[in-house]
């Protein structure tokens, strides 16, 4: 970096942040390898360019474009992981993980336990998803609740590029299998660049905004919306605290309870379908611990009970919205 670089103003987008995490991890540890469809530079460096340049820098032995064989991809990652490698497998879009669930759930998640602790599985699965980009029913699902329900897996997602970099690096360094969820619509979204070496610890939520009246709990792209709503609500005299979970499972229960213990009101928000989603777990937990202190029942915001529709008109009807968040906050305040 030369003297003229305006360090403070440095920006980075999600794709670059994710690239940076893998770059740093690969530079530091030769056991970090990447597997996925079209991820090497000869094939374009990944459909979302998240792996761009890495095969040129580290070689195609470590950055491997694979056949369209998700079971083989995740399985190879599992096998390499149990003998000490730290594979990062890219499953292009989250819905495609449905063909590899066996490797994720029956193997990656369980081999540490079933082996009595002899073989840990330090692998990371990166996968993109999210509605709002017109990909339709089979390319947009948010399935984090499934993985959160599987003991042995960590589920992680970021709300800004710096965290994306820090969290992905933490996943790669972690000795447990991590599902790292990226937002298809956000790859080009920029934010402040992190310092080299920046790592965000897994299992720790962060207070994205302090407030005193109500806590909004979310993760990923939700946080941007929650912050925008919080700002608007300031005008109405409602002080909204926003908790960014960052690690969805196992999540930072203490941080959630501390915040809601203070505000006495909570709204949980996610893009995933509301029913049986992550919000249900967090709502249940909060009630279990803070029932007497709560001023209102915890509200949940999520998407409609439907597959993700293609038509933009319906996709909007499907997706949770800022209005939904605001309405839920008002509902908690209305008492």
């Amino acid at each position: 970096m030369n003297a003229e670089t305006p360090v403070k103003a440095k920006k980075i987008n999600f794709a670059q942040a994710i690239n940076l995490a893998m770059d740093e991890a690969m530079a530091a540890d030769k056991r970090v390898i990447l597997l996925g469809e079209d991820i090497a530079d000869g094939q374009g460096g990944g459909v979302f360019t998240a792996t761009k340049g890495l095969s040129t820098k580290y070689g195609v032995a470590r950055v491997r474009s694979t056949p369209i064989s998700e079971q083989a991809i995740v399985g190879a990652a599992v096998g390499a992981a149990i003998v000490g490698y730290r594979p990062v497998a890219e499953i292009m879009l989250m819905n495609f993980i449905t063909v590899a669930m066996d490797q994720v759930v029956n193997h990656a998640a369980k081999l540490r336990f079933m082996s009595g602790g002899q073989t840990s599985v330090p692998l990371t699965i990166r996968t993109a998803t999210g509605a709002g980009v017109g990909f339709g029913g089979q390319h947009s699902d948010m399935l984090e609740a499934w993985f959160a329900h599987v003991p042995g897996l960590k589920v992680v997602t970021a709300s800004n590029p710096a965290d994306a970099k820090g969290l992905l690096l933490a996943c790669i360094q972690d000795d447990d299998p991590c599902i790292f969820i990226e937002n298809t619509a956000s790859y080009g979204v920029s934010g402040p660049a992190p310092e080299p070496g920046y790592v965000v610890p897994l299992g720790k939520a962060t207070v994205a905004r302090e407030g005193s009246d109500v806590t909004v709990i979310g993760y990923g792209a939700v946080i941007g919306h929650a912050l925008a709503v919080a700002k608007e609500m300031e005008a109405d005299g409602v002080s909204v605290e926003v908790i960014d979970l960052r690690t969805i499972a196992p999540y930072d229960e203490a941080a959630v309870l501390a915040s809601v213990g203070k505000t006495k009101r909570a709204v949980v928000v996610h893009e995933a379908v509301r029913k049986f989603g992550v919000g249900a777990e967090i709502s249940a937990l909060i009630h279990e611990h803070l029932f007497d202190e709560l001023k209102a029942p915890v509200q949940r915001v999520g998407s409609a009970y439907a597959p993700v529709p293609f038509s933009p008109a319906l996709e909007k009807a499907y997706l949770y919205s800022r209005d939904d968040i605001a309405a839920a906050i008002h509902k908690t305040m209305g008492r």
Binding site: I68, S69, G134, G137, S311, L314
Partner: protein, 329 residues
Amino acid sequence: MTGDTAAEPDRSVLLDIYRRANLIYQADEKFRTMIMGGQLQIIYYSPRGQEILSAALMAALNPDDYLVTTYRGVHDQLAKGIPPRDLWAEFAGKKTGTCKGKGGPMHITHPETGVMVTTGIVGSGLPIANGLALASQLEGDGKVTVVCFGDAASNIGAFHESLNMAQIWKLPVIFVCQNNLYGEHTPQAMSTGAKELIDRAPGYGIKGVQVNGNDAFAMYQAASEAAARARAGEGPTFIEAKTFRFFGHLLGDDSHYIPKEEMAAAKLADPIPGYRKALLERQVSEAELDAIDAEIAEVVAEAAAHALASDYPDTDEIRIDVLGMEIAA
């Protein structure tokens, strides 16, 4: 490649193939123009280069035979008979679309023309095709199911399970691998251990046929034979049909990963002018073909205009078709 040469199909069949192929060709061009011009905002997987394959294949089928295809499905869907205006409206997310705008380009269904499933998950159409064929076998309705997929799809588990099951149950299904030599940006040799995809057939005991998919005559023959076999209860066929895609994986793809000479050679062998030439050599007149082209141009223009003019679905549709029962608001 298929060894035996059969008698050439009738003139009417040849013109039918021409008509189907040119509908695809013009529709594709219109889609690309509209997308590049910002009139449609969609991810688009162009079938340019694969028109003849699909036209000849569908011409060999009955209208009520079943089809299962993929995200790269425009050629298959139009060749199978979906009215262009219905397809177009679906691509535009309108309520007049085949699926009321709910499915979109990757999920076209149109039972009236036998288009039963279009899937965006590589390889997943094959197991479903077996189910359609199983129903026909039990029903004794004489229908054949065709499932189209790419070369790279032949490396996923569902392919394997499906060809095996179809063979042991002698299902009336035709597996058509549209081998355009690339899966996204990966060439076949990098993703596929087999020397030729057709080498996979003996692993299932299935009848395998390798054919130049861009040769309408060879393709029509292979498809006709496979359909006859299926209807006769002799079981499935695996057709590897060689072809090429001229616009890469999705529109905007600069095909950087395709060697220039390979692309140039493919373009030289472009099946659309090739087939026109073949028809002209067979006493079809320029005027006749031009008339067909003009007629199709009108159909395509009308379809596009219809799509743009149509309304978006009501937001209430989000609660309908999720389950048999409407979901409460």
